[in-house]
């Protein structure tokens, strides 16, 4: 059932077994898991069923750090949450993302990936994805059958991995607010309150939550009482609501951890160029780049993959090599471009009269030099294969893990919102290892493509960090994935929630969403958010039933 919270009488009290705060990917997944169970569930959603600018403005806040994110543009505040903007790319975190890595301070989850895999598989079904298998060799046919299917980056040191894309037809399964609206509307044990903003978590003894205070933009505050509360308002807002709730500060924030360790996947556009050797087939990546040719990519799929959804292929470094060189986790997307090939310098040209030197002109000179090398290698005296044709190269876009940093944090700003609640202040800060590791990582990729005879790489990973402002955007971009502010750790001195996502020091407050991620990996987080929500639902059902 859907209820407009603006119609709830001021000062009234609503009772439920479970109160879910937030109806995004995590909140809706939780609600679906409880649908039809012998428990009453109340879902509190700040927005309505459509976008509303006034409600969205509640997300406004202040960036105080060297890096900025769009606090009110990277998150969406209506039913469905940020799935309303979701591109739908899915990949689980890698197994080693869960482990403690001695070169990344504060790394390590309280459980291994194997613990989450059953829920990952359920999340796959919910999202309409293919098999829970991301090994390219299990997907792609032998290039002997079809040369278009050759995967150049797959030699045990460099690897190619996949993102599975959530299907958009016949239903757009990315939009949880649309796809699952009817399920929740028809549910007999779930009540979804729209336009219901939680302003405070209330506790009498500081450890057990009794109720939450809810308000609407019509200003008719009321209370929701429950046995169990699950905060599912996103990677930033979860921390903000905890910080706003003075009743539970002593218990939930005993070690001043709430809001700290904010992480966001770092996107660096045009961080390099890959120039393939003329003899290397890049057809799979070329097809993969083009929406029009995705069907060709599908033709490379093994018959055992009984799924016709789209995938995106990205380059990565093998786990072994990452550990050997103590690198952060990252993936590299390749975007084809075809600069116009200028004619080769005339033979016997005076060097001083040749074209001006620049990294871009070097691309052309290097392409011809590389073709010469390839010819020697092949033992064939021929002109470069693209002589007189268009040169094909690939721009690299990096998506990387950022490491947990206690100084990267969410706090409360002085400015308040329409409910007189402090807005959020975000100080997003990187650690030295984040960039330094990428510089080494791209050098290693350059070395490996050279070693394997695949081509040459140009790296332009910045050597130092420069902040971005609204006036000057640098190459650093947030990928809208906000994580870590209520991190998970078995030890209350090191984490806000325990392995079951229960807030340390409290008895009935749980957190769902990416704010519990202790490390970010480099995979898009939504699949993990959904899997964790399913795992949490199992745990809560075990407690209540």
């Amino acid at each position: 059932m859907f209820i407009d919270a603006r119609s709830v009488p001021e000062g009234s009290a609503v009772s439920s077994d479970i109160c879910i705060i937030g109806a995004g990917a995590a909140g809706i997944t939780l609600a679906r898991e409880f649908n039809g169970q012998k428990m009453n569930v109340c879902v509190l959603e700040s927005g309505g069923l459509e976008f509303d600018a006034t409600t969205q403005s509640l997300y406004k806040g202040e960036n105080t750090g060297p890096l900025t994110i769009g606090l009110d543009t990277e998150r969406v505040r209506y039913f469905g949450g940020t799935t309303n903007l979701w591109a739908g790319a899915c990949r689980p975190l890698d197994p080693d993302d869960f482990g403690a890595r001695d070169w990344i301070p504060s790394s390590g989850w309280p459980f291994k990936r194997t613990e989450l895999e059953p829920c990952y598989k359920r999340a796959h079904k919910l999202c309409g994805l293919g098999p829970f298998d991301y090994d390219i060799n299990d997907w792609i046919r032998d290039p002997k059958d079809n040369p278009r299917c050759f995967i150049p980056f797959d030699n045990g040191r460099l690897a190619t991995t996949l993102f599975q894309m959530v299907p958009r037809k016949p239903d757009d399964l990315r939009r949880f607010g649309s796809v699952y609206r009817q399920d929740l509307k028809a549910s007999e044990n779930i009540k979804v309150y729209l336009f219901a903003n939680v302003t405070k978590l209330v506790s009498n003894d500081g450890a057990e939550l009794t109720n939450v205070t809810v308000n609407t933009l019509s200003h008719n505050p009321f209370s929701v009482f429950a046995r169990i509360f699950i905060l599912a308002t996103g990677g930033i807002e979860n921390a903000r609501i905890l910080l706003l709730s003075t009743d539970i500060q002593e218990a939930a924030n005993a070690y001043d951890l709430v809001g700290r360790y904010f992480m966001a996947h770092l996107e660096l556009k045009n961080v390099g160029v890959f120039l393939p050797s003329p003899t290397v087939s890049m057809q799979y990546f070329r097809d993969n780049n083009s929406d029009a040719k995705r069907v060709d990519v599908g033709k490379c799929r093994k018959k055992s993959i009984n799924w016709d959804g789209a995938t995106d292929a990205v380059l990565t470094i093998s786990e072994k090599l990452r550990h050997e060189h103590k690198l952060v986790n990252f993936t590299v997307a390749l975007e084809e471009f075809t600069p116009t090939m200028p004619p080769a310098p005339p033979r016997g040209s005076s060097l001083s009269k040749l074209s001006s030197r620049s990294p871009d002109s070097l691309l052309f000179h290097l392409s011809r030099v590389l073709a010469d090398s390839d010819d020697r290698e092949a033992g064939i005296a021929k002109e470069a294969s693209w002589q007189g044709k268009q040169l094909v190269a690939y721009r690299l876009t990096n998506t990387s893990e950022t490491t947990p940093n206690p100084n990267s944090r969410v706090t409360l700003a002085r400015e308040t919102d329409q409910f007189n609640c402090n807005r959020v202040a975000l100080n997003w800060t990187l650690s030295d290892i984040d960039l330094e590791s990428l510089q080494r990582g791209y050098r290693i990729i350059g070395q490996e493509v050279g070693r394997a005879g695949l081509g040459r790489l140009r790296s332009s990973v910045p050597t130092r960090f420069e902040g971005s402002t609204s006036k000057k955007r640098t190459v650093f971009w947030s990928q809208h994935h906000h994580m870590g502010t209520t991190r998970m750790h078995a030890d209350p001195k090191k984490g806000v929630v325990d392995a079951n996502c229960k807030v340390h020091g409290t008895s009935n407050l749980f957190i769902a969403g990416s704010s519990v991620f202790p490390t970010s990996g480099c995979a898009t987080p939504t699949l993990t958010i959904i899997a964790l929500a399913m795992r949490l639902a199992d745990h809560v059902k075990g407690k209540l039933l």
């Binding site: 390099g272 080769a344 310098p345 005339p346 033979r347 040209s349 005076s350 060097l351 001083s352 040749l354 074209s355 030197r357 620049s358 990294p359 002109s361 070097l362 052309f364 000179h365 290097l366 011809r368 030099v369 073709a371 010469d372 090398s373 010819d375 020697r376 290698e377 470069a384 050098r443 350059g446 070395q447 490996e448 050279g450 070693r451 005879g453 040459r456 790489l457 140009r458 790296s459 332009s460």
Partner: protein, 141 residues
């Protein structure tokens, strides 16, 4: 003149001769065994047909390694200062020389001997062959 003085003078002359022989030995060996270095330069710079393209990359490399702007030094570096490598390259015909350079390029990548030329990650060998090509073209202008 005492016998001791005669012995001392003869020892000094002998020592000087030995030192001179040692100093000239490498050049003599190189010269008689392999011929002049200009032949070597021609052989190495023949690796790339697109010499002007190679030369422009070479100039870029020399901007970051100006102390290598010397043909003899580049040849020594390409041979890793090893007279055996030098002899092997010098004795090789053109095709063999190119195979040696190609193998060395691959070895560079395997061993992490890569250089940054305006962001492009090249093997030390290919950067130096390009630099040698640049110097060879410059010398004829």
């Amino acid at each position: 003149v005492s016998d001791r003085l005669i012995i001392t003078r003869r020892a000094a002359v002998g020592l000087t001769a030995i030192i001179l022989l040692m100093l000239s030995g490498k050049w003599l060996v190189d010269f008689f065994a392999t011929g002049p270095r200009s032949e070597m330069v021609k052989k190495i710079t023949g690796f790339y047909r697109h010499k002007e393209d190679a030369a422009l990359i070479g100039l870029e490399y020399l901007d970051s390694a100006p102390d290598e702007a010397d043909s003899d030094k580049l040849i020594d570096l390409l041979c890793h200062g090893d007279s055996e490598n030098y002899r092997r390259l010098a004795d090789a015909d053109w095709n063999e020389a190119h195979a040696i350079i190609l193998a060395q390029q691959h070895m560079d990548f395997s061993r992490g001997r890569i250089v940054d030329v305006s962001g492009w990650l090249l093997s030390e060998t290919e950067a130096r062959v390009c630099a040698l090509t640049a110097l060879a073209i410059s010398a004829t202008e």
